[in-house]
């Protein structure tokens, strides 16, 4: 890595003692010698292991659940179903007033994705819990499922989630989050070329070294200590308090040393049910995802579909950009309504375009609920935007890097969501990339700056 201090040198003072110094991390020796303690490095006396019975169907009505055989399996201590969870229907963003509550801790009457948790088994050993889980008999009536976002949005599609009553999240702005800036149709009408293209991604896994999990210990003072690898301590504690209908002062969360998160540990999935198990058995409970659960049960990055329509002039100016983004939330909201609207605030990318129209939809389908991941609401948008930029440049016969200089935002430029640009540095990054990659551009672009035009 090289620090190129020549850029923006007049904006920095290099008079600091500790900041800017490549100090070795104080936690590195523990990490590389295996001495760092993670939440799972505990084997509490009497600790039970929790395993989930999961839906084998994408969408089905639960006719009946028979736990009698599992109940008598050797080592089984407790079996939990929906009726055991005090506030079974929840949504994590209710803490910031983004509802409705739309997800069950344990499925109640219906499953909406393959892998959904239906019954929790607590046993003396992981093996006993696994074996007993296999003995739970659930009678399902399979329902039609919908997997494709376009199909889900069509009239007459199976309704994935009755708490929404429709297969998209309803914002205060309607069926999508909207950004309107200038007159996009007039922009297309006056453009030399118009190009509309569609981009698609599929879900991906966070792939942390340490899978999601927690260990809960009931304490003598009627409190519960939850050792967890959540990315958000109070967010998880407060949601657990709601789900368990238990005052937050009875919950003590301990974490902060995590083997990779990447956004996969901001859902509140393992803690509430493990605390409930500890409460009902009076024993410590361990609930740790297997690698298979981490990959197919834990929320992935959402699949997204992005349709971009651009109007561009022969001289390289983009005069209009219309983006329609679809985020596949899967069966439940989790953080997806936030991610979709974060996308609305990110388009049209780091370019100054006078006419912009953005619609971003959060769509429900019968698949594993997606949620946050590194670059939430932005990563797939950037893929779509930057491939589109390449296509536009080639369409008008211009060098792709030079084309970006022509449209790059600078300090003071008004963005589509009506914030003036501050602290821009796109131009300088491209200038340095031009040098580093030996990708020459015209001298006038190398003389540009992100500072306000005319300044």
């Amino acid at each position: 890595m090289e620090l190129r201090k020549s850029y923006f040198a007049d904006q920095r003072k290099d008079d600091l003692h500790e900041i800017g110094q490549p100090r070795p991390r104080s936690d590195s020796p523990g990490h590389v010698t295996g001495k760092t303690a993670y939440f799972a490095d505990r084997n509490l006396p009497g600790m039970l292991h929790l395993k989930m019975v999961r839906s084998p169907h994408h969408h089905a009505r639960i006719r009946s659940i028979d736990t009698s055989e599992a109940q008598v399996h050797p080592g089984v201590v407790k079996i939990l179903t929906a009726k055991d969870v005090p506030h079974n229907v929840y949504t994590i963003l209710i803490l910031i007033q983004i509802g409705p509550e739309d997800e069950t801790v344990l499925a109640d009457g219906k499953v909406r994705w393959k892998g959904e948790a239906v019954v929790a088994v607590l046993a003396e050993t992981e093996r006993a819990a696994q074996e007993a889980a296999a003995k739970v008999k659930i009678d399902y009536e399979v329902l039609p499922a919908v997997f494709d976002m376009e199909e889900a949005l069509k009239p007459g599609a199976p309704v994935v989630n009755e708490y929404h009553g429709r297969n998209y999240y309803l914002y205060d702005s309607g069926e999508c989050r909207k950004v309107r800036f200038g007159d996009v149709e007039a922009g297309f009408a006056g453009a030399d070329h118009v190009l509309e293209q569609t981009y698609q991604s599929s879900p991906i896994e966070h792939a942390p070294t340490e899978t999601t999990g927690c260990i809960v210990a009931p304490e003598g003072n009627d409190r519960f200590t939850c050792y967890t690898n959540t990315q958000a301590m109070f967010f998880t504690l407060d949601n657990a308090s709601i789900i368990l209908q238990m005052p937050g002062n009875r919950l003590h969360f301990v974490g902060g040393t995590v083997g990779g998160g990447f956004g996969g540990k901001v859902d509140v999935i393992v803690e509430p049910i493990a605390i409930l198990g500890a409460k009902l058995t009076g024993r410590p409970v361990s609930f740790i995802y297997s690698r298979e659960e981490e990959m197919q049960i834990s929320s992935p990055r959402a699949a997204e579909k992005v349709v971009i329509k651009d109007g561009v002039m022969k001289d390289g100016r983009i005069v209009a950009r219309k983006v329609t983004g679809y985020t596949d939330a899967g069966a439940y909201s989790r953080h997806s309504p936030y991610g979709a609207q974060k996308g609305a605030g990110h388009y049209p990318g780091p370019y100054t375009i006078p006419n912009v129209w953005i619609d971003t939809y959060c769509v429900y389908t019968n698949r594993t609920p997606s949620s946050a991941m590194r670059g939430f609401g932005v990563t797939i948008g950037d893929f779509a935007l930057e491939v589109q930029m390449d296509k536009l440049a080639r369409l008008i016969g211009m060098d792709p890097l030079e084309f970006r200089f022509i449209n790059a935002y600078r300090d003071g430029d008004m963005k589509a969501h009506r914030q003036p640009t501050e602290g821009a540095a796109l131009i300088e990054c491209m200038q340095e990339a031009s040098r580093a990659a030996n990708w020459p551009v015209a001298e006038k672009f190398m003389a540009m700056s992100s500072h306000a035009k005319g300044a």
Partner: protein, 334 residues
């Protein structure tokens, strides 16, 4: 049939924080009797090194070496509220809270030192080595060790401070979408060079040259670990990863690392990282959030390089050999 070479470019920006939900983090700082400093938080270190960077921020603000600072974090009985570690917000939000708390603690520390030295607190400064000096007369000094002892046992002062950083929630306008979705923005430009085997569809990423503008590199070595790791993750996202290979079909999802593909050590490109620093107006010592954005520009850069190499557009992620071969076949039949 041949190995074809191409290169592609992409440029991006990235927002810091989650203003659309309200974005608070708090910090507490206090000294021990012998002049070490504790930072208490409930923020989570995911392995990126948050504890280390908070220690450096506290040390810089108080004016002591970093090894005099201990960070105690993520215990809800002791740590004040933090929204969580996501949205590239950790360094920016918690860092600002730590600065505010450390400033308050530093002020008390200087007041106690002023009483011991019989001067005004405003005439004092730290030397960054553990001592407090009279400005212009550095021979008059007192160690922070002695100041802390005095505060605890003689003067009855608590060398401590409270810090709070809150970005108030922004509500998007229903009609226009006017909103303030984040605070500062980081930037990047990546050039990727690939080889594509037009017989097998396999892509080899030869080089990735990344330029990142991240505000201020608070610890350059930690910035490097983050940016290199992010760059690899971007390549992996572009070419390998999916839990549903035939999305929206639900079948064929991987359940372990034999089935869920990621690049191995032999698949990694020669990676170059260049960092520019344009300090942000609102970040701790000018920092922005580089944590997420460093994995983004490689994806379109690789996609554009594949087109440059073989002349087909793969607009669906991941860009697998199967998709490339199908596109080449369609191109040949047109």
């Amino acid at each position: 049939m041949a190995i074809r070479r191409g290169r592609g470019v992409a440029a991006i920006n990235y927002p810091t924080g989650m203003n659309l939900g309200g974005d608070p983090t708090q910090a507490l700082v206090h000294s021990t009797p012998t002049g070490n400093f504790m930072v208490t938080l409930s923020s989570v270190d995911l392995g990126q090194g948050m504890k280390q960077i908070m220690a450096q921020i506290c040390a810089e603000t108080i004016g002591v070496p970093t090894d005099r600072v201990v960070v105690d974090t993520a215990d809800t009985d002791t740590g004040p509220h933090c929204m969580g570690t996501f949205a590239s917000r950790g360094t920016h939000r918690a860092g600002n809270a730590v600065i505010q708390a450390a400033r308050e603690a530093r002020q008390v520390m200087l007041e106690v030192a002023a009483e011991e030295l019989e001067v005004n607190a405003s005439d004092l400064d730290t030397d960054g080595q553990g001592n407090i000096l009279v400005k212009g007369a550095p021979q008059r000094s007192i160690s922070i060790f002695d100041v802390a002892l005095s505060a605890h046992f003689k003067r009855g002062r608590s060398i401590s401070g409270r810090g709070m950083f809150l970005i108030p929630r922004s509500y998007p306008d229903k009609e226009t979408g006017a909103m303030k979705p984040s605070t500062c923005y980081a930037h990047a430009c990546t050039v990727a060079e690939v080889e594509v085997d037009d017989e097998t569809g396999e892509v080899t990423v030869l080089t990735v040259k990344n330029v990142f503008e991240i505000g201020r590199a608070l610890n350059p070595k930690m910035v490097e670990q983050q940016l290199v790791g992010g760059s690899w993750m971007g390549i992996s996202h572009a070419l390998y990863e999916t839990t549903e290979p035939y999305y929206p079909d639900r079948d064929h999802g991987g359940t372990d690392f034999n089935q869920y593909l990621m690049p191995g050590p032999g698949d990694l490109a020669q990676t170059e990282i260049i960092v520019l620093e344009r300090p942000s107006a609102d970040g701790p010592f000018g920092a922005k959030g580089p944590g997420e954005m460093c994995a983004n520009p490689q994806i379109p850069a690789v996609a554009n390089a594949v087109f440059d190499a073989v002349g087909v557009r793969i607009d669906t992620l991941p860009i697998t050999p199967e998709r490339i071969l199908r596109a080449l076949k369609a191109q040949a039949s047109n």
